[in-house]
């Protein structure tokens, strides 16, 4: 993976830039010391590391605006950063860029239950929002597995999902408003506590824009009342086909479970070794199906889903009889990543989405690839919405294994696109999938996306080197190739 060549002039000006930033953010909010920069050199995609030019940790919106304005005026690149848990290298620093950390923005500004929303600063963790409103009977629905650590600002930038997305939507479906600082240092408020935009839907556009359009300094999220109860089923199958059929049958019966997760044989066993959740070790596929809502509904649906599971050849069915048991069912799934981490020195987490019906095909092709590359793979899968997380196991200390793991991963993602799916379901493109964008998009598609960036960031200073294989200059993108021509298709009706 190649990053753009660092700008020499910026590198040479490091001390001046640091001094100027210190005038904006006094105290210890500007870091230049190499040891202190070290913790910022990577994010959740640890195979890539770069020391940032400078780290700045502002505490107020005005400071953020002043930092951005300064960087804009002096053409210094900026990489926004939340908790640094991105799995696609979205927060990977640039050697010639200021890393703008939002971790000091930790306040929950307002809880407005009557309007069912919370106004929070971007550095608040995902889980902290739900915890703050838990006692009052509410929660914030999107729940990425990284929720203890990841920030709501990072969730907005990546449009993060979680196991409850099937029923409750992704980040983008659970936001009401944002405060954004543009690279020019302008503070803009988008949305509020009302629904929908009176103009273009900038809230929707900014969600998932990977820190390339502006810096989020405040987020208004929707709160939901906690469901009356939740119960889960643990269903084993002798083949992934049967598991896939069961998922399709549940949805065809008109049931949208709160969560519906699948694990394959290697993932089941890795998780069972780690947490002893009581998973059926001999199953080829395991479904965790959670039903939430009013008790009467949950009891009814549990029966329905059990019936459908039996009809689809389930080899084992367990139904949680207590909250403790429900959590145990989930414990294995939630620990799937570290569990795989225990049986392999390193693993590489992929994130493609496929039309669900293609699951058996994709899994069997993946097994062939696993043989070809000589690397093991375990699969966890947001089964309801077709979002696949293959975990490729490798050893970075064995020369060539990382490259093989990456090639394997790329082949999987290409396969996802080939069967009608996409490169990334929730982790973002970042640097990781940047060079695969051409698998899904034509040059014209990507040019139009980059023109959107031009509207926000004409000098391409915000998080450059991410998402797009080549970042064209805005002047070039704006040029029109006008084709003088005849009046079109004169032979068809026109009046």
């Amino acid at each position: 993976m190649r990053m753009p060549e660092p700008d020499r002039e910026t590198l040479a000006n490091r001390q001046t830039i640091a001094a100027e930033l210190r005038r904006i953010v006094p105290g210890d909010g500007v870091i230049v010391d190499e040891d202190a920069l070290r913790p910022f050199e990577t994010d959740g995609l640890t195979a890539y590391r770069t020391l940032p030019l400078i780290v700045v940790l502002p505490e107020t919106v005005e400071q953020v605006a002043a930092v951005l304005k300064y960087c804009h005026q002096n053409s210094v690149k900026v990489v926004p950063r939340g908790a640094g848990t991105s799995l696609s290298g979205g927060a990977l620093p640039l050697a010639d860029g200021v890393l703008l950390s939002l971790t000091k923005f930790k306040q929950i500004l307002e809880l407005d239950y009557e309007n069912r929303c919370a106004r929070v600063q971007p550095g608040v963790t995902n889980l902290a929002i739900s915890q703050a409103v838990d006692a009052d009977g509410y929660y914030y629905a999107p729940d990425p597995s990284s929720q203890i650590a990841c920030t709501i600002g990072g969730n907005v930038a990546e449009n993060a999902g979680g196991v409850h997305c099937l029923k409750y939507g992704l980040t983008t479906n659970n936001l009401l408003g944002l405060e954004l600082v543009t690279i020019e240092g302008e503070i803009i408020r988008i949305g509020g506590k009302h629904l929908d935009s009176g103009g273009y839907d900038l809230l929707g556009l900014l969600t998932g824009s990977e820190g390339m359009l502006g810096v989020v300094t405040e987020v208004t999220v929707r709160l939901l009342p906690k469901p009356e109860c939740a119960r889960a089923l643990l269903v084993g199958f002798n083949s992934s086909e049967a598991g896939g059929d069961c998922v399709a049958a549940i949805i065809a019966a008109g049931i949208i479970p709160g969560g519906m997760e699948m694990m394959d044989h290697p993932a089941i066993n890795a998780a069972e070794d780690f947490v002893n959740a009581g998973y059926p070790r001999d199953a080829q596929a395991l479904l965790i199906i959670e039903l939430d809502g009013p008790e009467a509904e949950v009891d009814y649906l549990i029966e329905e889903v059990s019936r459908i599971a039996r009809e689809n050849g389930a080899s084992s069915i367990r139904i949680s009889e207590s909250e403790q048991e429900r959590l145990t069912f989930w414990a294995g799934r939630k620990a799937a990543f570290p569990a795989v981490g225990r049986i392999s020195p390193d693993y590489y987490c992929m994130d493609g989405t496929i039309p669900r019906a293609k699951l058996p095909l994709v899994l069997s092709r993946m097994r062939e690839m696993s043989d070809k590359y000589g690397l093991r793979v375990a699969n966890v899968f947001h089964a309801g919405d077709g979002n696949l997380h293959p975990l490729i196991m490798y050893d970075a200390n064995v020369p060539g294994e990382l490259d093989r793991a990456e090639d394997f991963g790329n082949d999987i993602l290409k396969l996802c696109v080939e069967v009608g799916g996409v490169l990334t379901g929730e982790h973002g493109v970042g640097v990781e999938k940047r060079d695969l964008m051409g698998e899904m998009f034509t040059d014209e598609d990507m040019a139009q996306q980059q023109r959107v960036k031009c509207a926000f960031d004409p000098k391409a200073l915000l998080n450059p080197g991410k998402v797009f294989p080549t970042l064209h200059r805005c002047a070039e993108l704006g040029r029109m190739h006008i084709r003088q021509g005849q009046i079109p298709f004169p032979d068809i009706p026109r009046f």
């Binding site: 988008i190 009302h194 935009s197 824009s209 809502g293 929730e426 996306q449 079109p488």
Partner: protein, 411 residues
């Protein structure tokens, strides 16, 4: 007009060819799907029309995968028929404004038009609006270039989410010819709990308490007595009273159980009544389509006002003194439908001031041609936001050829 012409491309290639030619001539066009929303917005349209009505037909519908792709101009009637057969729906309750706008053809809307206007009915508070169910599209920009975004799967963060930008852009950024949407199972049963004899402020408290309870209320509205009297749902009209309506949907036993909780909870607030499945469906169709203001003889101006749910009643009372003003609340108070006799500028400044005090936006949905020419249809944005929107527009349509003035003057 002598130079009035209509282009009706029949394939993606012809659409691209047409747009390239329009660009080379710098000729502005009026984009039209099936024309069901033509009476919304500034009436001064370009002499040239780009008629997209040839892009019809459902090309893919896989109910178990919850996905449908169709030509952008596929009639909603066709979409609804296919969904009905599979016991599915577009969960955002797409409204049909044919009667409200006085159109002869009651089934004129298209799927693409529904998305381009980002409308949503009562289920908005639970399920989102058109933008939340819009997975991908293919389009031609005002630069005369083909582009696409999104895909056919729900979980997708590959590249910027241009679908969100296209939803609600009223055809000012590109001409969509193919769209893909998320479909969902239709709830097995629907019932509506009515709490009678409450004013808008009391309604606010009831709706908030209902939505804040774990009963998964999927719609909440309030109607004053004068509008309740206009309903075609007999059992409701005969109540002859102002009402809060709370909809509960899902499997049978669950619906009965939750309705009971709601009835018990609010019986001290007002007399309780219940609408069963078919009555409930008809009632919410009336709310969705703004039927209380859709009578043939009603020629008042209609404003659609989106605010924080708690602000709805306040806005209603601030505007209730206007001549012949009537209003009702949907979205648990967050949506105010206001009808007003307003010969002078449609009461625009009063409406805008009231909204600006709380934060939100107001859109003129119905009004005479002269008025629609004189006032701003959409809510004016603060300068920095307007500038940003303008730059976005320029990057899709640098010559301003697509639906000029449709959303904002000069764009």
């Amino acid at each position: 007009m002598s130079d009035a012409q209509i282009f009706r491309p029949e394939s993606a290639e012809q659409l691209l060819e047409t747009m390239s030619w329009l660009v080379s001539e710098k000729m502005p066009v009026n984009l039209q799907g099936r024309g069901s929303k033509r009476l919304i917005g500034n009436p001064d349209r370009s002499a040239t029309t780009l008629d997209l009505s040839a892009f019809t037909g459902i090309s893919l519908y896989e109910p178990e995968e919850l996905v449908m792709s169709a030509g952008a101009a596929t009639p909603m009637a066709e979409i609804n028929k296919a969904l009905d057969q599979a016991h599915q729906m577009l969960a955002y309750d797409p409204p049909n404004f044919a009667s409200l706008l006085g159109l002869a053809d009651k089934e004129s809307g298209s799927l693409g038009g529904m998305i381009a206007t980002n409308l949503a009915g009562p289920r908005r508070i639970k399920a989102g609006s058109a933008r939340d169910h819009f997975l991908g599209f293919q389009a031609v920009s005002g630069r005369g270039e083909a582009f696409k975004s999104g895909g056919r799967v729900v979980k997708n963060v590959t590249g910027y989410d241009l679908s969100k930008l296209m939803a609600g852009s009223w055809g000012t950024l590109g001409a969509m010819h193919q769209v893909t949407v998320k479909t969902l199972p239709r709830p097995e049963k629907s019932r509506t709990v009515l709490v009678q004899g409450v004013d808008a402020d009391e309604a606010r408290t009831i709706m908030s308490a209902a939505l804040n309870s774990p009963n998964e209320v999927s719609a909440a509205c309030w109607l004053p007595k004068s509008l309740a009297e206009r309903s075609d749902v007999d059992i409701f009209r005969h109540l002859n009273n102002s009402c809060v309506a709370l909809r509960v949907e899902g499997p049978g036993p669950s619906v009965q159980y939750r309705c009971k909780i709601l009835r018990d909870r609010f019986k001290s607030e007002g007399k309780i009544e219940e609408l069963h499945t078919s009555n409930s469906a008809r009632f919410w169709r009336e709310i969705r389509d703004v039927s209380p203001f859709a009578a043939k003889i009603d020629d008042r101006v209609i404003w659609k006002i989106s605010v924080a749910p708690t602000a709805g009643p306040a806005i209603l009372s601030q505007l209730s003194n206007l001549k012949n003003a009537e209003g009702f609340l949907d979205w648990a108070g967050g949506l105010v439908w206001l009808a007003v006799d307003a010969p002078k500028m449609g009461a625009e400044s009063l409406v805008r001031d009231a909204v600006n005090r709380h934060g939100g936006h107001a859109t003129l949905i119905r009004g005479p041609e002269k008025l629609r020419r004189e006032i701003s249809i959409f809510h004016p944005q603060p300068t920095p936001l307007a500038a940003l929107s303008r730059r976005l527009k320029d990057n899709f349509d640098p010559f301003g050829l697509l639906n000029p003035n449709r959303m904002y003057p000069g764009t």
